[in-house]
């Protein structure tokens, strides 16, 4: 849902004359809503600009996004960045966002 909302806002900004660059970690949603320019980082939701307390990784992802902003020439392009979530875990995508995700992992109580 986040990715849909962000995509809609990016489109509105671009229609109003402001260039945009969007992160995404939900490729199928972004492909559907089509923000003007996106970079895909294949990480679990909540890490679109990197892992906690890893400033070099965060910086590198942001710089890649800005490079995409300067180079994408076709509206709707999604550039896939080469970051790997965890070298020792090649199946997190299989487990992620399945029924049960909202509890106990998602902090429903974080909506205070």
């Amino acid at each position: 849902m986040c990715h849909q909302s962000v995509g809609l806002i990016a489109r509105a900004a671009e229609e109003a004359g402001i260039p945009t660059i969007s992160m995404t970690s939900a490729l199928d949603i972004t492909q559907a809503v089509k923000p003007p320019r996106s970079v895909f980082v294949n990480f679990p939701l909540g890490h679109q600009t990197g892992k906690p307390h890893q400033p070099e990784l965060q910086r590198s992802i942001i710089l890649d996004a800005f490079r995409a902003l300067e180079t994408i020439a076709t509206p709707g392009t999604i550039v896939t960045l080469p970051y790997v979530w965890d070298d020792s875990d090649d199946s997190w995508e299989d487990r992620e966002y399945r029924p049960g995700y909202l509890t106990p992992y998602t902090r429903a109580e974080s909506v205070r």
Binding site: M1, S5, V6, A12, H47, Q58
Partner: protein, 157 residues
């Protein structure tokens, strides 16, 4: 492994609800980047539910409000309220979804011309696409225009 297919998995998560009608667009609007990034004013927005201590937290689904967060905010003054993703890491380090410290550094190094003040934040779990298009997006775009922003950097969560 291939990327997580969130649209079918969302369906699996909510078997008792009618299928959500995701927005599907043909084509994208386009504004070319008019000048080099090191001369651009860049505004950050995150949908990760980040807010500053003292501001109202985000409510549950369909809260289409947004917060203005001063660009020089102390990172320890940021909080996270979002029902749709695991917020633990963003709570430890908001830069995971709201990379304000990294952008301040990139401004200091001259990679971007200027980091806009304020940065923006909302809670992206808004089911009503109409609400986003008719309420939230126009308000944000108007603020960016007032502030003469050149580039909008968007981070979902």
């Amino acid at each position: 492994m291939s990327p997580v297919a969130y649209i079918p998995r969302t369906r699996e998560m909510y078997p008792d609800y009618p299928p959500y009608r995701w927005v599907v667009n043909e084509g994208s609007p386009w504004t070319p980047l008019a000048k080099p990034l090191n001369r651009c004013k860049v505004a950050l927005i995150s949908s990760g539910g980040v807010y500053r201590v003292g501001q109202p937290a985000f409510h549950t689904r369909d809260d289409a409000s947004y917060r203005e967060i001063p660009r020089d905010v102390a990172i320890e003054d940021l909080r996270v309220a979002h029902f749709g993703y695991r917020t633990e890491d963003a709570e430890k380090d908001p830069n995971c979804v709201f990379p304000i410290e990294r952008l301040r550094e990139l401004e200091a190094e001259g990679v971007i011309g200027k980091l806009a003040d304020p940065a923006y934040s909302f809670m992206g779990g808004i089911y009503s696409a109409r609400k986003v298009k008719k309420e939230l997006a126009p308000q944000l775009v108007a603020r960016l225009k007032e502030d003469n922003v050149d580039v909008f950097y968007l981070v979902p969560a």
